[in-house]
């Protein structure tokens, strides 16, 4: 078991390195970069002082060197003008667009993103699992039909549209300010009780909107999985033993039907960050999604690179978690390791 974890950690590190190369070169693919574009703009405007500052930045970040050297400096495998200062050393670089360190820009957005999406995730599971169990055990009943139709509606309604409607009514009925994750007045203020309360109130709508599509999809998949498992002979064995129906259901078919969902954790985590961009834009949530979009558009290379690396790391961590949980959950996998 420890052997497995160690082996996986080593492959994870190598994979991350490979991804970092890919990410960097894809970002550098379009001609030019943020600074040279900016310099061209400034020259056209005749602002000599600003040009000098930009040229200083170019030298400071080694943007005048070959791309492969820039990459090694970014990762922290090669000394830059300021010595080793890359991802490996915990220096995430400079955002040209915001003219601040990336760490500072991204700061709150990172964990707010996680808060919003974890809330959505909890919502999805808490709602979908009971409904799916009901739906599978009462197949073709009126209740199943209602849930099925609602599920399809949930799948079909575009999130941003629902977001606008819900925001409107939340404002009208509960007096909630529109957009953001807390009242605009708290921006830049330290996290105290009032700000947290405001955050919780503002979380409701994004959670619903982001979670809705996932809930509908999960009900459909869970129902199908459960139906497969309910037809398996071991379910009959459990009934023949005299187990009460719900206990038999939860212990055998339900547990069996969890495997594909556990295997999906690896895909879920990165989806948390990048999946809700549209909704975040519409609701002007201070999350990572919109930042990434901007950074890519303006070739703000260190900013974009960092966010992409963060998503990649989340993916790998998710995969590791799902593999470990599968090993713990399923003896067939666990004993196959021995």
């Amino acid at each position: 078991m420890t052997g497995l974890v160690l082996r996986r950690l080593v492959t994870m590190a190598l994979t991350l390195l490979l991804i970092s190369a890919l990410v960097f070169f894809v970002i550098k693919l379009p001609p030019g970069d943020y600074l040279s574009n900016r310099i061209a703009e400034l020259r056209a405007g005749g602002e000599a002082a600003s040009v000098a500052k930009a040229e200083l930045l170019i030298r400071q970040y080694g943007l005048d060197r070959p791309v492969w050297q820039q990459y090694l400096m970014w990762v922290g495998l090669m000394p830059g003008p300021a010595g080793f200062a890359g991802l490996l050393q915990g220096d995430w670089g400079w955002s040209f667009e915001y003219d601040r360190p990336v760490a500072e820009v991204v700061g709150d957005a990172l964990w707010l993103t996680l808060v919003v999406n974890v809330a959505a995730l909890v919502f999805v599971h808490a709602v979908a699992i009971p409904i799916a169990i009901y739906s599978a055990t009462h197949r073709h009943s009126a209740g199943d039909a209602v849930v099925t139709v609602l599920g399809y509606v949930g799948l079909a309604v575009p999130g941003f549209l629902l977001a606008l409607i819900l925001l409107f009514y939340a404002n009208r009925w509960f007096g909630l300010s529109i957009g953001g994750l807390y009242d605009a007045g708290f921006t830049g203020k330290p996290w105290d009780g009032a700000k947290v309360r405001s955050l919780l109130a503002h979380l409701v709508v994004p959670t619903l909107v982001i979670g809705l599509g996932g809930t509908a999809a999960m009900i459909r998949r869970m129902r199908a999985n459960l139906l497969d498992e309910l037809a398996k002979p071991y379910t009959v064995t459990a009934r023949a033993k005299g187990l009460p129906p719900m206990r038999a259901l939860l212990k055998y078919p339900f547990r069996m039907s969890l495997n594909p969902f556990v295997a999906d954790i690896g895909n879920l985590l990165p989806h948390l960050v990048s999946g809700s961009v549209l909704v975040s834009l519409v609701m002007s949530l201070p999350t990572v999604g919109p930042l990434l979009l901007d950074a890519l558009r303006t070739q703000d290379q260190f900013m974009a690179g960092f966010i992409l690396m963060f998503v990649a790391a989340l993916t790998l961590v998710g995969m590791l978690i799902s593999d470990l949980v599968l090993v713990w959950l399923d003896p067939r996998i666990r004993l196959g390791l021995r």
């Binding site: 052997g3 082996r7 197949r139 398996k232 002979p233 071991y234 009959v236 064995t237 459990a238 009934r239 023949a240 033993k241 005299g242 187990l243 009460p244 129906p245 212990k251 055998y252 547990r255 069996m256 959950l329 399923d330 003896p331 067939r332 004993l335 196959g336 390791l337 021995r338």
Partner: protein
């Protein structure tokens, strides 16, 4: 004596898209305390539905529409199926074991957990008590190490042990009635004999009534006190075993008795299928025959590597096949017999070139001299594929459900470049050969029964006019009522087309009916080989004898000797001299009579010298 279970005028109906379908039309039968009632019939006759109705675990689409099920003073048919009263009966007073011990146990829970659960649900026992009682039950059903067994998962056990675990689960609360639904159908004959012996012993000790559902008349003859024969949801014959089996009154049971291969069949006697298929086999096209054997397997061995879990661990090696030699004359049938795990399927895969042997050669002679199959390349290999075809065990899994029968039959011809008009004509001809109507061409596999599917599989194998068919358990997945049909068809095709067969099976009766010469495999080695008649007249090797002794015969005059089935027969170290083999010892084949050879251990050779 009042019966333990009394079913009166039971009716069960299924809801289907074409309206209600009645599966049981007023069934009445009694199970007595301490006696076994065998419920006999082909698939679809309503046997399993009866069992499910008694336990009230019918599928959701089925319902009891009439009649009573009287058991210990209650009418089970009147109870709500999932109510507390019915649940108290299930698993406590009436327990059930099923056909597939693998799929009937959850792979995610230890067998200790699953067995003890019945106890905990019904008696509220603590986890410790349950574990202790489970351990006793496991010891009772013959687990070698019951304490360790508590913590094992079903997939770590052999088929026989899994079924023992199911039985332990069923008997842990000492039920009054045990329902066994085809409990040994999925097992090897030797394991079957052990499980049957176990059930007989448990019945003797606890005096429980057993409702034994089976299609195997050999099992009936050895286990039942009373017999009830079901046909299309109706009872057609019932009574004590002696009366029913010695003088079957109903035509259906008589037909059933003649439809399964038996050892006491006369030479050249044909099975009589219950529903004969009319096959139009074309007049023989005499094949150019090779002078020598069409297939020679010379000393092939195969070792599999089990993946090691840890990096620094050495991978484990498993010797699946050691130094196996076979010889098949053109137009004849060679039978390869052995228990599961004996290596017989690995041998057939090496002949098909699906696996490469570590040592030895496979020589095939298409009429132009023997050539090593594993040295063939390009055009020669392509031609070889045409000559050798495979018929699979499971007719459900071996046909692509998304292809029509026409596509299934045409695919091999397409691969081998047969022009389209010829393909269409040949497909019709093939269907006629296996006794199916031409309108089957446009239908899909799910529209056919198991027997019909197996005939489609045979037609596909014949599409390229092969010389050799490898038949891997060709009838073991089929209902008794159609086994005779398929076996007769194979015999007729062989006679007409001059085919050579290699038939792989654990069913000695099938091998006896089909084969000219027989090789017996144990632990990856051939232990005995002989012409059919010699092997059955004079089996020399203890393993062969154990296999033969374990086959339940439908005749009441040849009962199984339960005391003789111990499970020792498959361990080479426990074979009596001169057959005993040490670890990794090869031994030598010694001639018993003309063409009949048996493997002796080296120890006996030294003494003789």
């Amino acid at each position: 004596m009042t019966p333990l279970l009394s079913i009166r005028d039971l009716r069960v109906a299924f809801r289907t898209e074409t309206g209600p379908f009645e599966a049981l039309h007023g069934l009445s039968l009694d199970v007595m305390r301490g006696r076994t009632l065998a419920l006999v019939g082909e698939s679809g006759s309503g046997k399993s539905v009866t069992a499910q109705a008694v336990l009230r675990i019918l599928p959701r689409s089925a319902a009891i529409t009439g009649g009573r099920i009287l058991f210990e003073g209650q009418d089970l048919a009147a109870l709500p199926p999932d109510g507390p009263a019915m649940r108290a009966v299930r698993g406590d007073r009436i327990a059930m074991i099923f056909q597939e011990p693998m799929t009937c146990l959850s792979p995610l829970h230890t067998i200790g957990d699953q067995i003890g659960e019945a106890l905990r649900v019904h008696t509220g026992a603590s986890a410790r008590e349950a574990a202790a009682r489970t351990q006793e039950a496991l010891a009772h059903v013959g687990f070698p190490d019951p304490e360790r067994a508590l913590r094992t998962y079903p997939f770590e056990l052999s088929g026989g042990l899994r079924q023992r675990a199911m039985i332990a689960m069923a008997i842990i609360l000492k039920p009054a009635l045990l329902i066994a639904d085809e409990p040994t159908t999925a097992l090897d004959v030797t394991t079957q004999a052990q499980i049957l012996a176990l059930l007989a012993r448990l019945q003797e000790e606890d005096g429980m009534g057993i409702l034994l559902i089976t299609h195997d008349l050999g099992v009936v003859a050895n286990m039942a006190h009373d017999v009830a024969v079901l046909y299309r949801g109706r009872l057609v014959e019932a009574g004590p075993r002696e009366a029913v089996m010695r003088a079957p009154g109903h035509a259906y049971l008589r037909a059933l008795l003649h439809a399964v291969p038996r050892f006491d069949m006369g030479p050249g006697e044909r099975l009589t299928p219950i529903r004969p298929a009319r096959a139009a086999i074309p007049e023989a096209r005499p094949p150019t025959r090779a002078a020598g054997p069409i297939l020679r397997v010379e000393g092939v061995s195969k070792t599999f590597t089990l993946r090691a879990g840890r990096v620094w661990e050495k991978p484990r090696l498993v010797r699946a096949v050691s130094d196996v030699s076979l010889c098949l004359e053109p137009g004849r049938t060679l039978g390869l017999v052995g228990e599961s795990g004996s290596g017989k399927t690995t041998v057939s895969k090496m002949i098909m070139r699906a696996l490469k042997p570590d040592a030895g050669r496979v020589l095939f002679d298409a009429g132009s001299g023997p050539r090593d199959v594993h040295a063939l390349a390009d055009a020669d290999l392509f031609a070889y594929r045409r000559q050798v075809q495979f018929v699979f065990q499971d007719p459900y899994a071996s046909l692509d459900p998304r292809l029509s029968v026409r596509q299934i039959l045409a695919e091999p011809m397409e691969i081998h470049g047969v022009p389209a008009p010829e393909r269409r004509a040949r497909a019709r001809e093939l269907l006629a050969m296996v006794g199916l109507e031409a309108d089957a061409l446009s239908r899909f596999p799910h529209a056919f029964s198991g027997g019909q599917r197996q005939r489609i599989g045979i037609a596909r194998a014949l599409a390229l006019e092969p010389r050799l068919l490898v038949l891997d358990e060709p009838v073991s997945a089929l209902d008794v009522s159609v086994q005779a049909q398929v076996l007769n068809l194979l015999k007729d095709l062989q006679a007409a087309l001059g085919l050579s067969y290699l038939i792989v099976s654990h069913n000695l009766a099938v091998i006896d009916y089909m084969a000219d010469t027989i090789s017996v495999m144990a632990r990856g080695r051939i232990v005995e080989e002989a012409p059919r008649a010699a092997l059955f007249r004079n089996p020399a090797h203890p393993y062969t004898r154990a296999l033969l002794a374990a086959v339940p015969d439908p005749s009441l005059d040849h009962p199984l000797d339960f005391a003789a089935v111990t499970g020792d027969h498959s361990d080479p170290a426990r074979w009596p001299e001169p057959y005993r083999l040490g670890l990794d010892e090869a031994g030598t084949m010694v001639a018993v009579e003309d063409g009949h050879r048996v493997r002796h251990g080296a120890a006996s050779g030294r003494r003789a010298a």
